[in-house]
Amino acid sequence: MREKVKLLIRTSPHIHSPITLSRLMYGVILALTPALLWGLYYFHLPALLLLLTCVSSTLITEALFRKVRGKEITLYDGSALLTGILLAMVLPPYLPLWMGALGGFIAISLGKEIFGGLGYNIFNPALVGRAFLSASFPVALTTWKVPLNHSWFSVDTVTQATPLATTLPKFGGGGSYPLYKLILGLHGGCMGETCGLALLVGGLILLIFRIIDYRIPLSCLLTVLVFSTIFYLREDNFPSPLFHLFSGGLLLGAFFMATDPVTSPVTKKGRWIFGAGMGFLIVCIRLWGGYPEGVMYSILIMNAFTPLINRLTLPLPLGGKK
């Protein structure tokens, strides 16, 4: 007689693609690495300490919240780690470490867990953390230092305004800035946003490995380019579209923050709208707003619109009638 076989009953499909949640998260982290490494290299030890602080803070906060809520601790999925890294990358590298820790706590607690954890939050957690810090400590969050010499352990710095603050006409800037400095990351700014080249490489990694969909970054960047070109051609002293593209947090935001799946639309049309809305807001804030940079608020505002965008762009099913 044949031996008895234990048969498993489950619903179809019975095979699965190799995509998993943690692979996606670690994929994003991998794609962030070039920009992250540049940030650590350029801003020296304080940047590393800030990174470690933010990451430990998000991981500990997540573990605590899960424990208090009696849920399984799921740090291995990489999402809290990613939030920590992203947060560090959008903060000034010489920020007091306790502020970084507070930001990490807020990012996970108010940004994510309070809504029910991964998948339920409305706003991008890392940006919630940054927005909180930016409202609470406006001076610290706009103090941009760069190291004075090349020693990695040296703490001598010089304060330097960001390219946006020195170039935009609303702050009296002349509208031009050496582009190679932006592309190579030779200027002050948030820890992970300075090197355009590294961010583009990261963005390409995300697209090639299909970790993100192309629609949001493409529509966002195109909108910024088109919109800023119009004003570049019409007005004196307005910076060039390429300056817009490589300055501030645009590339980091468009490829890594706006594409956070949880807080961006699920419909294809919605993704175009999300990116375009974000790009439009960024140029508006940059050219006429009170802040030099508008990426963070643009993403947060579009996050708020995401449920509405989803609802309004509900696709017609195959063979459906209007």
């Binding site: 489950r10 179809s12 019975h14 095979i15 699965h16 693609s17 998993t20 699920v266 099913p317 195959l318």
Partner: protein, 434 residues
């Protein structure tokens, strides 16, 4: 030739282990279980009782309902029991168990259709109905019903579906390689019934041998064309196939005949040919026994043969197998026992070792399900609607348009059994309608 396709879909590993294995005859089974409900539609009543002697091809169950298909004995022998047996789709179902005795004898009443009747669409249709032909691609919808469109819906295109987009399965592929001419004869019968000219034979590009064979078979035929489709799942889904080939969309909630199309599986065409020209009722079919069995094969098997007999004939299961599926890995049904019989809708028997735990992670709304969905619905939204019991939103989010192809579950990074949630949603709507 340009390769055609539909938007969306997935491309799982093809795993066509048996593409080059000629169809083998499975040994005659000692006993068979002929289930009375093998098709979509009304169940059959048994026409035999314990102790009756039946021939191969003897009618043993039928129904008076329009949407039904009779069943036949697939061996010569004695009825040993009429009762409840394991059913590969329904769990359990009424069936007739027959034990073989002696030599095979065909039922004397079986006759091919007379030459003059072969020109009469009504006679052809009647014959297809009486021989119990159903769609052999898996859905098992009675073919005679599908070939009787209402007179206000003219049909202009017939599509022979040889896509076989499910991984592992190769029965249709082998049929096209080995029996192409008879398939085309079957198609000509359908053409007569529906009075259509244009015939497409749709084959995925990963079956070059089948494409060549069918192209050879239609060289002298007018109005017939082999269409090459991209190897993608669910390319062979009726609505997807029509969309890919003709750029027409089957209306939501409607049928292909609403837009003038009839799709028939290539195996069904062969069965139609054999019914008309040889008088043969549907008591056998070709299936693929594949996956983690020692000798994967394409087999012609008698309906009612138990899975375990066929798996034994294919060298048995390999070590550590924990799943046996009727059909392909994407839409097949996991079986709890190997004592189930082959039915008309059995396209294959697939043994796999399933290692993923069924733990479900939170949905991160990555929308991969949205991107692969061939019917453009929002699976992620439906999962939420079902989880939070927001039943009033089910229709707004088009739950009934889901074809349950499973592409969404296949790509879900959180391993959410999306199709399962959608089925729950559909059931809730159905109950509400009552």
């Amino acid at each position: 030739m340009r390769v055609k396709t539909f938007p969306g879909g997935v491309h799982p590993p093809e795993c066509k282990l048996t593409s080059h294995q000629p169809i083998e005859e499975a040994p005659l089974p000692e006993r068979v279980i002929i289930l009375l409900q093998q098709h979509t539609g009304a169940p059959n009543e048994p026409l035999v009782k314990k102790g009756d002697r039946v021939f191969t091809g003897t009618l043993i169950g039928k129904s008076e309902e329009f949407i039904s298909a009779p069943v036949f004995s697939s061996i010569t022998g004695k009825v040993v029991e009429v009762g409840n047996f394991p059913h590969p789709v329904l769990g359990r179902g009424l069936g007739v168990m027959i034990e073989r005795d002696g030599e095979e004898e065909m039922d004397p009443s079986l006759k091919p259709l007379g030459e003059s009747e072969r020109e009469n669409p009504q006679a052809l249709l009647q014959c297809i109905r009486e021989k119990g032909i159903v769609g052999l691609g898996g859905a098992a919808f009675p073919t005679a019903v599908k070939l009787s469109p209402p007179s206000n819906k003219p049909i202009d295109t017939l599509i022979l579906n040889g896509c076989e987009c499910e991984p592992y399965l190769t029965a249709d592929e082998r049929l096209m390689v080995e029996r192409g001419e008879e398939i085309i004869e079957g198609a000509k019968i359908i053409r007569k019934i529906l009075n259509v000219q244009k015939v497409y034979i749709a084959i995925e590009e990963n079956k070059p041998e089948a494409i060549q064979s069918m192209q050879r078979c239609i060289e002298k035929e007018e109005g017939m064309e082999v269409a090459i489709l991209k190897t993608k799942y669910p390319e062979g889904g009726e609505k997807q196939l029509i969309q890919a080939l003709l750029k027409r969309e089957v209306p939501s909630g409607g049928l292909p005949l609403d837009i003038g199309v009839v799709v028939q599986n290539v195996g069904t065409c062969l069965a139609i040919y054999e019914a008309i020209y040889k008088g043969k009722p549907l008591y056998e079919r070709v299936i693929t026994v594949t996956g983690e069995v020692n000798k994967p094969k394409n087999l012609r098997v008698r309906i009612g043969t138990l899975f375990k007999d066929l798996i034994d004939f294919c060298g048995g299961l390999k070590e550590g197998i924990n799943q046996v599926i009727m059909g392909g890995p994407m839409m097949g049904i996991a079986q709890s026992t190997l004592e189930v019989p082959v039915i008309k809708g059995t396209t294959g028997i697939l043994a796999i070792k399933n290692t993923w735990d069924s733990k479900e992670y939170p949905c991160i709304k990555c929308a991969r399900c949205v991107d692969v969905c061939p019917v453009r619905i929002l699976p992620t939204a439906l999962v939420r609607i079902v989880k939070f019991k927001r039943w009033e939103l089910l229709e707004e989010y088009h739950v009934l348009d889901c074809i349950e192809c499973g592409a969404c579950s296949y790509v879900c990074p959180s391993f959410i059994p999306i199709v399962q949630y959608i089925k729950v949603g559909k059931e809730v709507l159905r109950r509400k309608a009552r």
